[in-house]
């Protein structure tokens, strides 16, 4: 889809009338399109008026139930970084963008997952998470922000990857930056290397060069993590040589 065509999707987006690949493509475009952001904000305020005009009477019992429920629901931590500014900064030049990325990966290696978490936040910035995805995101953010998070970085597939492991949580997150897209019809698949065996840890989104993935399953004594190129949908066992291998940081 061309930029002009993407640009015209502001209305459909504000009405939640996009899905699948088109939604993802538009959100990628939106992150760097100030005019689109402005228009989406205005359209969202407009649909807000449609919503207000639909105001209905609520039953008192609903109020009691909701106020009861929130006493048992934990709030999410606030976002860590001034993302707007980071994104604008990154847009000012490719050199600067590369520097920012390199710096955040280096910082991730030095300080555990904090910088990787920010990087993840930035990657997620434009996307909206559904309830289930939210829980997933919390576990993911929990690993990155864990006091015992340790990380290891490597160059791979035209970009960089950082593996963040929290021993106390027993989970791992893989953060990629600027990786080359896999060939058409293929995906990057993550694996835990367990002794001589490879255990699938899920797929990466083939449409995003920078992302954070909560690896499926517990780290559970795995000594390393591998990434292979597999047919769309993934494989039970690796069918190609790994494009990258990272040792699990001890």
């Amino acid at each position: 889809m061309t930029t002009t065509e993407l640009h015209a999707l502001t209305g459909a987006y504000a009405m939640h009338a996009l899905d699948g690949e088109e939604l993802a493509a538009f959100e990628r475009h939106l992150a760097d399109c100030d005019a689109c952001q402005q228009e989406v904000a205005e359209f969202t305020a407009t649909t807000g008026r449609l919503a207000l005009a639909s105001t209905a009477r609520t039953r008192p019992v609903m109020r009691e139930q909701v106020l009861q429920r929130i006493t048992t629901v934990r709030q999410v931590p606030p976002a860590a970084a001034p993302l707007e500014r980071m994104r604008r900064g990154a847009r000012q030049g490719r050199g600067l963008a590369r520097w920012t990325l390199a710096a955040s990966v280096a910082a991730a290696a030095a300080f555990g997952g904090t910088a990787a978490w920010r990087q993840y936040e930035r990657a997620q910035d434009a996307s909206h998470e559904a309830a289930q995805a939210q829980r997933h995101v919390e576990v993911l953010a929990g690993v990155l922000a864990a006091p015992d998070a340790k990380s290891r970085s490597a160059k791979m597939a035209g970009g960089a990857g950082t593996l963040v492991v929290s021993a106390s949580r027993g989970r791992a997150v893989f953060v990629s930056s600027g990786m080359t897209a896999p060939p058409r019809g293929k995906v990057y698949q993550l694996w835990f290397a367990d002794g001589g065996k490879m255990r699938s840890a899920g797929l990466m989104d083939p449409d995003r060069s920078s992302q954070a993935v909560l690896m499926q399953g517990a780290v559970d004594g795995a000594s390393g993590v591998g990434i292979t190129v597999e047919p769309a949908g993934g494989s039970k066992q690796p069918t190609s040589a790994p494009v990258a291998l990272l040792g699990v940081p001890a």
């Binding site: 999707l9 009338a17 969202t44 105001t55 209905a56 039953r59």
Partner: protein, 194 residues
């Protein structure tokens, strides 16, 4: 119980709701109760406009309100007002629900959709806040027929724009443009700024 009263001036700009949400973000349950009183009617209203079913609408409205509590620390005022944040969440959740529920029952047949066509009239019949309702009704009338149908199917029925195109037997590009033009006209008619 207190009904939300939004009469006259642009209700989406109410500043005290912003302040309340900031306090909710700090874990203040009393502030949340005040937010609830200000927005619950609209949250339920938008859910019911899309879902039609009272029980499901209440479920979705409750989920949305709990989500407001849970994610208030991530609310960013520079992205838009608190009320728009909440109502956007409500609409998205209602749309998600209607898509998952109706996926099984072949909602995309034209006959089924046309049966539901009076969406907008049904919706506005139920409206309590008459001034807001009257203004929206008047502005919806300024749209062309195609714009109004596209906006109605997408916003009140939760159709994707591809489904709108199928339902109205129009090319995708036409629906894309109608949705955008329709919103531009509504925005200007309602005097929305962001």
């Amino acid at each position: 119980m207190k009904e939300p009263v939004f009469i006259g001036s642009n209700p989406t700009a109410k500043p005290d709701l912003q302040q309340l949400v900031r306090e909710v973000a700090l874990g203040n349950q009393e502030a949340f109760a005040a937010v609830y009183d200000a927005v619950a009617g609209s949250v339920l209203g938008v859910a019911r406009a899309v879902l039609r079913d009272q029980a499901q609408s209440e479920e979705v409205a409750q989920e949305v309100l709990v989500e407001v509590w849970r994610t208030a620390p991530r609310y960013r005022p520079e992205r838009g007002t608190a009320i728009n944040w909440i109502l956007t969440l409500a609409h998205r959740r209602a749309v998600d629900r209607v898509r998952s529920v109706e996926a099984a029952v072949a909602r995309d047949t034209k006959a089924a959709l046309l049966e539901h066509q009076p969406a907008y009239d049904e919706v506005t019949e139920q409206v309590e806040t008459r001034l807001e309702q009257e203004q929206v009704r008047r502005c919806l009338r300024t749209l062309t027929e195609l714009q109004r149908q596209s906006v109605t199917l997408a916003y009140y029925r939760g159709l994707t724009y591809r489904e709108v195109a199928e339902a109205l037997a129009l090319p995708l590009g036409t629906v894309k443009t109608r949705l955008r033009d329709g919103l531009i006209r509504l925005r200007d008619c309602l005097g929305v700024t962001a």
